[in-house]
């Protein structure tokens, strides 16, 4: 009796595992194509990077002005007039979150979901990443003003760790709340159709 059931379970598991593996592999291939292609586009059109750097510099300057901090702006460099002397901050492409945005875009683009779901993910995610990056840049600038010795610590930590965690949070929320919801809805409709 037991002998009869065992192979059946094995077949189902293999088939499911196989489908998952195929789907995941397809996701990875698509992700790397999108990521590489978008990355090369930024290299092909360096004006995009320059424009983004200018935008980030102006936004940081705007916020620092709001808070009443004193600095001289010579794009893309800031010279902060701090109590312990002048501090220089140069904004480069890595400071614009361009690449993390592209990685996020590639994850959403490669994941098997509807176009509308992907658009929602991008519309929520890209501005969020931009705002988080602005907050990071302002925070790092304030560290330079007040606690220069902690700059290296926060710059390193916030650059990588906070972006990975934020990107993961966005992806989990998108997959869990938007894609799954739609999927559950369409599966329910299919079941209803089958039963009628």
């Amino acid at each position: 009796m037991g002998h009869g059931k065992k192979p059946e379970g094995k077949v189902i598991r293999t088939r499911k595992g196989g489908t998952f593996r195929r789907e995941f592999l397809l996701f990875l291939i698509l992700f790397f194509i999108l990521w590489l292609f978008s990355f090369l586009l930024t290299r092909r059109f360096p004006g995009l990077e320059a424009g983004l750097i200018t935008a980030v510099v102006r936004e940081v300057a705007f916020v620092l002005n709001l808070f009443g901090y004193s600095f001289t702006l010579n794009e893309p460099s800031f010279l902060f007039h701090t109590s312990h002397g002048g501090e220089n901050l140069v904004v480069i492409t890595e400071c614009t979150a361009l690449y993390t945005t592209i990685i996020y875009f590639s994850i959403i683009g490669a994941y098997p979901a509807r176009i509308s779901e992907k658009l929602i993910g991008l519309l929520i995610g890209i501005p969020s990443i931009h705002i988080l990056n602005l907050a990071r840049m302002v925070f790092v600038s304030l560290v330079l003003y007040h606690k220069r010795e902690l700059f290296h610590f926060f710059h390193g930590y916030l650059w990588q760790v906070s972006f990975v965690i934020f990107m993961l949070l966005l992806v989990i929320l998108w997959m869990g709340k938007i894609v799954k919801q739609h999927r559950a809805g369409s599966e329910g409709q299919q079941r209803e159709k089958q039963s009628t």
């Binding site: 990355f39 990588q160 760790v161 990975v164 989990i172 799954k180």
Partner: protein, 164 residues
């Protein structure tokens, strides 16, 4: 079975928030350790790249290698924080994943340092672009990918086949 346990750990907003709270705590602790002991890790990566460069008859400048490694090799901190923060997984599974992930990321960092020095000697533009891409991939995507592959968390990211 373990897949289902992990799924339960992430259920609801509370589960997700708890995971991220654990991640933040783990990453701060590991980052603090890295700022103190990271020099040994950077040396490990630099010494790993040395024989690769020797194959091409190039020399590794240790001082420069340590400085560059320090800037580009935070990915084990991110990955290990993700592993620590994941709930409802046995210690053995976590340790195995941590070890494999650490080895793979370190190998990635060794290759990056090797290619960076190769670029320094050859000044090839194509190689420079490739290194930038590789470095961003190993720092921002590889820790997430390894976390997903090495830990039983398939159910967390609902691919069609895993939701059936």
């Amino acid at each position: 079975m373990e897949n289902e346990n992990v799924k339960r750990a992430f259920e609801g907003t509370r589960g997700v928030l708890l995971f991220f709270l654990r991640f933040v705590i783990a990453s701060i602790v590991l980052y603090l350790i890295y700022t103190k002991l990271g020099v040994y890790y950077t040396k490990l990566v630099a010494y790993g790249a040395k024989p690769l460069l020797a194959i091409f008859k190039y020399r590794l400048v240790m001082e420069r290698a340590l400085k560059v490694t320090e800037d580009i090799s935070l990915n084990p901190v991110v990955f290990l924080s993700l592993v620590i923060a994941t709930g409802n997984v046995t210690l053995v599974t976590k340790l195995r994943a941590a070890l494999w992930g650490f080895v793979i990321l370190t190998a990635g960092n060794v290759v990056t340092i090797f290619l960076l020095f190769l670029y320094g000697y050859t000044r090839s533009e194509t190689l420079g672009t490739g290194i930038d891409w590789l470095n961003l991939t190993t720092n921002f995507f590889l820790p997430l990918l390894l976390w997903f592959i090495l830990l039983p968390i398939r159910s967390l990211l609902p691919f069609r086949s895993s939701s059936t």
